[in-house]
Amino acid sequence: MFNKLKLSMQISIGYAAVLVLLLIVSITAYLGLSSAVGGFGEYRDLARDANLAGRVQANMLMVEMEANRYLVDFSEESLETFDERFALLKELTEDARREIQKPERAAKITLIAQEIDAYEEAFEDVERSVKKRGQLLDEVFNVQGLKMRQLMTEFIEQAEQQGNTRAVYLGGRVQESLLLARLSALKFINTGERVEAERAHRELDENVASHLSDLERQPLDSRQRAELRDFRVAMEAYAEALDGMDLASRQRDTALDEMHRIGPVIANATEEVKLSVIADQGTLGQRLDAENSRTVQLVIWISVIAVVVGIFLSWFLVRIIKRPLGGEPADMEVIASRIAEGDLQIEFKNRDQATGVYRAMIHMVDNLTNTIEQVRGGADSLASASNELNASAQSISQAATEQAASVEETTSSVEQLHASVQQNTENARVTDQMATQASGEAERGGEAVQRTVVAMKEIANKIGLIEDIAYKTNLLSLNAAIEAARAGEHGKGFTVVAAEVRKLAENSRVTAQEINELATNSVSIAEDAGKLLQQMVPSIQKTADLVQEITASSEEQAAGIDQINSAMSQLDSVTQQNASSSEELAATAEELSSQAEALLDAVAFFQLDGGSQKRSRAPAHKPQSGYRAQQDSAADEDDYSDGEFKRY
C-alpha cells in the first residue's frame, strides 16, 4: 500500500515518523522534568515547614528564658523583652498554622498554639501574684512591721520611765518575738518556704499574743493601753498580710508549675513536627531520586529507538525513491540525451532486474525502434500508394466530365416532363369542375323524376275512379237489361240500349285499365330513372373526388419534378466539383508522395540497430544488435553471424 503512494507523500510520511519519534522524546523529557520540578517544590515546602517549626522552638526557648529572667529580677525591662519575644512567638505560631497543612502536623501546631495561650495565661498569673506580693510587702509588711516595732519601743521606753520593769520585760519579749516573726516572714518572702511562714505565724499567734496579753494585764496608763491596742491592730493586719502573701505565693507556684509543664510539651510538639517533616523529606527525596533516574533512562531508551527507526526509515526511503527511478539520475540523463539525439543503439545493463524509469526507458527505446521501423515501411508504402492514387484521380476526373454531360441531358428531359405534368394538372382541374356541375344537374334531374312519379301516381288514382264509374255504369246497364228482360216483348228495344250502354261501359273500363297499366308502368320506369339518377350522383361525386386527387397528385408530381430539377442542377455542380476535386486529388497525391519522401528523410534521424533499413538514403547503417534481435525469432539469429551480435 505504501508503494502506491506518491513519492512526495512517501518522503513526507518518513519524515513525519521521525518527527513523531522526536516529539515522543521531547514529551517524555518534558514530563520527567515537570515531575522533578513538582517534587522540588514539594521538598522546598517541607523545608520551609521544618524551618518554621525550628524557629517556633527557638523562640519558645527564648520566651522561657525571658520568663525565668523576670522571675529572678522582676524588672519591667525583663517583662518588656518577654512580651516582645512572646509576640514574635505568637506570630510565628500563626505563620506555622497557615503554612503547615498536613493534618497530623496541623494538629500538633494547633496544640502548640493552645499551649502557648495557656502559657501566656500562666505567665500573667505569675505576674499578678508577683505584683501582689510586692504590694503586700511594700504596703503591709514594711509599714505594719515598722509601726509595731516603733510602738513597742515607745511602750518599753515609757514603761521604763514609769519603772514598770515587768512591763519592760514583757515589752522586750514581745519585741523579740515580733522581730523573730518578721525575720521568718522576710525569709518566707525571699525563699518562699512555707515553714518560715508558719513559724512567723506561730511567733505572732503564740509568743507575741501571749506576751501581749500578759502585758495588757499589767497596770498601765491609757496612753500605753492605746499603744497596745494600736499594736494589736497592726499585728492582726500583719498576720492577715502574711496569709495573703502565702496565698499569692501558692498561686505563683501553681502558675510556674503550669509554665514548666507547658515548656516541654511545646518543645516536644515542635520536635515532633520537625521530625515528621524530616521523615517526609526523606521519603520524598527517595521518590524524587527514583523518578528522576527513571526519566533519564526512559529518555535514553526512546532516543536510542528513535535513532534506530530514523536510520531504518532513511534506508527505506532511499530504497523507495530508487525503485521508481531504477538507477542513478546521471545515467538516466545520459540515456535520455542520447535518445534525444536520435541514437537508439543504447546498451542497457541488468535488463531483467531493471525497475522504474530505467525500465521504462528500455521499453521506450525498444518501442521507438520498432515504431520507426514501421514508419519507414509505412512511408514506402505511402509513396507507392500515392502514385496509384494520382492515376485513379485522373481517371475520376475524366469520368466526372462525362457525367456532367449526361446530367445536362437528363435535366432537359425532366423539364419536358414538368411541362406535361402541369398540362395534366390543368386538365384535371377542368374535369373536376365539370364533374361537380354534372353532379348538381343529376341531383336536380332526380328531383324532377320524383315529381313525375308523384304526378303519375295521381293519374293512376284518377283513372281508378274512371274505372269504378265504368263498373257502376255496367251495373246500371245490367239492371236495365234485367228490367227489360222482365218486361218481355216490350222491353226488347230497351234491352238493346242496355247492351249498348254496357258495351260503352265495358270499353271505358278496358281503356281505363290500359291507361292505368300504362301509368303504372311509367311510374316504375320513372322510379327506375330516379334511382339511376340517384345512383349517378355519388358516382359523379366520386369522379369529382378522384379528379381532385389526380389534380393534387399532379401538383405533387410537379413539385417532385421541381425537386428533381434542383437536385439535377445540384448534381451538375457536384459533378463539376468532383471533376475539379479529382484534379486536386491528383495534385494532393503527388504532394503526398513527396511528403512520404520527406517523412523517410525525417525518420532517418534515428539510428537503429538491425538491418531492416531498406533505404540506402538512411543515414546510419548500423549492424543488427541489441534487444531487438533477441526479441525476434531464433531463426533470425541464424541469419546473422555471431560477430554482429552484442548480447546484453
Binding site: Y471, L475, L478, N479, A481, I482, A485, A498, R502
Partner: protein, 178 residues
C-alpha cells in the same frame, strides 16, 4: 217440382254471368230481381258461415248468402267489385228475396237451347242438385245455377226466419240509419 225445374232448365234464354271464387257462373235472368253494390252488411250472430249477414233493401231485410262459401271454396273477400245479386225463390209458395254475394258480375248473354246440356253425373256422393245445366259459350262451359237449390230447404227456412225476425225491428233500424 223437380221435373218442372229440369224442363225449365234445359231451354236457353238470357243469363247473367258472374264470377265467384275464380269460377264463372250464370243464372237465369228471370230469376234475378236486381243487382246492387255491396252496402252496409249486418252480421247476424249464431248463423252459419255462408250467411254473411243481412242488408237493408228499401226497408226490407234481405239475407245475403256467400256463394263462394256455400259452394265450399271458403269465405270470399269483399272488393270494390263485389256485388249482391238479388234473386227470388219460392218458400212455401211465398216469394222470398235472397242476396247472393259474388266477386264480380260480368254481362247478360243469350244462350240458345241447343247450347244447353244437362248437368254431368258424378255419382251419388257428389251433390249436384244446385246445377241447373251446363251451357257452352265460346268453347267454355258455364255452370247455370239453380238458385232455388243452392240452399237446402231448412237453410232457406232458417234464412227466411232470420229475415222475418229482423224485419220486425228493421223499419225502426232502417229509420234510425237514415
Amino acid at each position: 217440382m223437380t221435373d218442372k225445374t229440369v224442363q225449365h232448365a234445359l231451354h236457353g234464354g238470357q243469363f247473367l254471368t258472374f264470377v265467384s271464387g275464380d269460377e264463372l257462373f250464370a243464372v237465369d235472368i228471370m230469376q234475378v230481381n236486381e243487382i246492387i253494390e255491396i252496402s252496409a252488411l249486418t252480421r247476424v250472430p249464431k248463423t252459419p258461415d255462408f250467411i254473411r249477414g243481412v242488408i237493408n233493401l228499401r226497408g226490407g231485410v234481405v239475407p245475403v248468402i256467400d256463394l263462394t262459401a256455400k259452394l265450399g271454396n271458403g269465405l270470399s273477400d269483399l272488393t270494390k267489385r263485389s256485388c249482391v245479386v238479388l234473386v227470388s225463390i219460392e218458400r212455401n209458395d211465398v216469394q222470398q228475396i235472397l242476396g247472393l254475394l259474388v266477386d264480380e258480375v260480368r254481362e247478360i248473354i243469350d244462350i240458345t237451347d241447343d247450347h244447353v246440356k244437362p248437368p254431368p253425373s258424378f255419382g251419388d256422393q257428389a251433390d249436384t242438385r244446385f246445377i241447373q245445366a251446363m251451357a257452352q259459350v265460346d268453347q267454355l262451359f258455364i255452370i247455370l245455377l239453380d238458385v232455388s237449390r243452392i240452399l237446402e230447404q231448412h237453410e232457406i227456412e232458417q234464412a227466411g226466419a232470420i229475415a222475418e225476425q229482423l224485419s220486425d225491428s228493421v223499419p225502426q233500424a232502417a229509420h234510425s240509419n237514415h
